[in-house]
Symmetry: C2
Subunit: 259 residues, 2 copies
DNA sequence: TAGGTCAAATTGTACATACAAGTCAAAGGC
DNA sequence: GCCTTTGACTTGTATGTACAATTTGACCTA
């Protein structure tokens, strides 16, 4: 496998299925940016030569990645890196800042603080010791100068020890955490609320403006890594999802092609 | 294939992949109730004998159904029908009434009307002729006597011609439509709103109570079958999702077993 | 009786092969 | 110059075979 599983622990390499290793290799190549969107990746036969596994195994890996939206395949043409922004499902909630950023002038401000203090209620959410110090950050995300999201985040120091030293003016907490503590699980809770006066002023909204509150907890390596409250003014937020079901009907083909 | 594809059109049977036909057969057996939850389905070798296709093809069909949450497999034991209520993802939004119904005394009332009239704005949403008659129903879903959802629905007569004749006191519109026009695609849009006075009274909420508005369109056979506005009071609604991602990590196993 | 052992059944992975189907470009014929 | 044909390359499906891993139950033994 040579280059296909460089980051895997040695004792685990033997038990990881080959098709999973191929999937990891492809995903890693995409996540690192080596293979950008619409890039044509090596063909099945090339991957066979590179990896040493059979074509059926490579084919299974690529097929599953296609089903999961990582790739886009065209018979007779090749396999291409899919534009995941085009995938509209719940997964996109976590990347909503990325989506919006690509469609306007995006910016964010560390309005209040980045600090460390203990808080028993939050400790329970993070599943840590009640008297442990926790990291807290609060910032406002803006699009074309107007706020669209208030982010109130608590971070588990065990998952991201150097969170306080991160320059949050250069990368968002989400961007940093995605690298520092790659997430393995996500929990979402959704509510409609009227924010308090402080939040109203930060978001620049009226007293009776309803907001969507997205409560999100992320896990990494068996620990709760982060807990975030994301408040969206109701008139500056929307989430659209559209997807084909797999109930007795063939999957909708993708007729578009890449020249 | 004999019994494996009785409902498929004859001209299509030749072009439908075999693994897809096996998937359809299994799904049909589950949807008709022949195979209830936790039922042990025929083994791969039995399905090979029944269908005449190879074990690899059967295996692929069962594996994909497992990934999609229809089945649960235990090595050395067999394959069982999974409890789809245990799957927590966006798909569950469409079944939220079903979920809630199983956890309390659920009821619903046809409060306003079931009628037929033309409305150009709605016709555009349903992608029909602007002057066509459309079916409209409006009802309130209650849990333990208190409303938790206001359903405002428009139905495309081409997709469900006998919608006005359905006894909506015996089955919900969603239940009927799922049978009459099995859905192939869904579109969701989510907003936070303050409802109007009429809706406030129907839901029994105060003037400043924010609500979640879920706008949903369903497709069936290439047509827009239905368009629904589902209004949830913010204090009587929550949506929790938690799922494992497939980013460089093996899928979380299901250690539980069925005796 | 209690415990260990072995065989059968089941699912999971991997490989080699074959053919079908779609795309593209080069070669050839008019 | 333009069109057709051919062939190479690509992905999609299907089969047969082999072995590994897990569970269950029957069987044997102390």
């Amino acid at each position: 496998m040579s280059e296909f599983a460089p980051t895997l622990p040695a004792d685990d390499a033997g038990s990881t299925p080959l098709y999973q290793q191929v999937k990891d290799y492809v995903r890693r190549s995409i996540l690192t940016g080596d293979w950008p969107v619409d890039h044509r990746i090596p063909s099945e036969n090339e991957l066979v030569r590179l990896s040493g596994v059979s074509r059926m195994t490579v084919h299974r890996a690529l097929r599953e990645l296609t089903d999961d939206g990582w790739l886009r395949r065209v018979q007779g043409q090749g396999t291409f890196v899919a534009d995941r922004r085009a995938r509209l499902d719940l997964l996109e909630i976590r990347n909503i800042a990325d989506i919006i950023r690509s469609r306007g002038s995006y910016s964010w401000d560390v309005t209040l603080h980045v600090r460390s203090l203990p808080l028993p209620d939050i400790a329970e959410e993070l599943e840590t010791e009640p008297d442990a110090d926790l990291f807290h950050s609060r910032l406002v995300h803006c699009l074309d100068g107007t706020p669209f999201q208030l982010e109130d985040r608590w971070v588990n120091p065990a998952a991201a020890p150097d969170y306080l030293g991160v320059d949050l003016t250069r990368q968002t907490p989400n961007e940093y955490l995605m690298r520092a503590a790659p997430l393995s699980e996500v929990e979402h809770r959704l509510e409609a609320v009227l924010p308090g006066p402080v939040e109203q002023e930060l978001l620049g909204i009226g007293r009776h403006q309803p907001c969507l509150l997205l409560h999100r907890r992320t896990w990494s390596g068996g620990r709760v890594a982060s807990r975030a409250w994301l408040t969206h003014p109701g008139d500056r937020f929307y989430l659209a999802t559209r997807f084909a079901h797999d109930v007795g009907l063939p999957r909708s083909p993708r007729p578009e092609q890449t020249p």
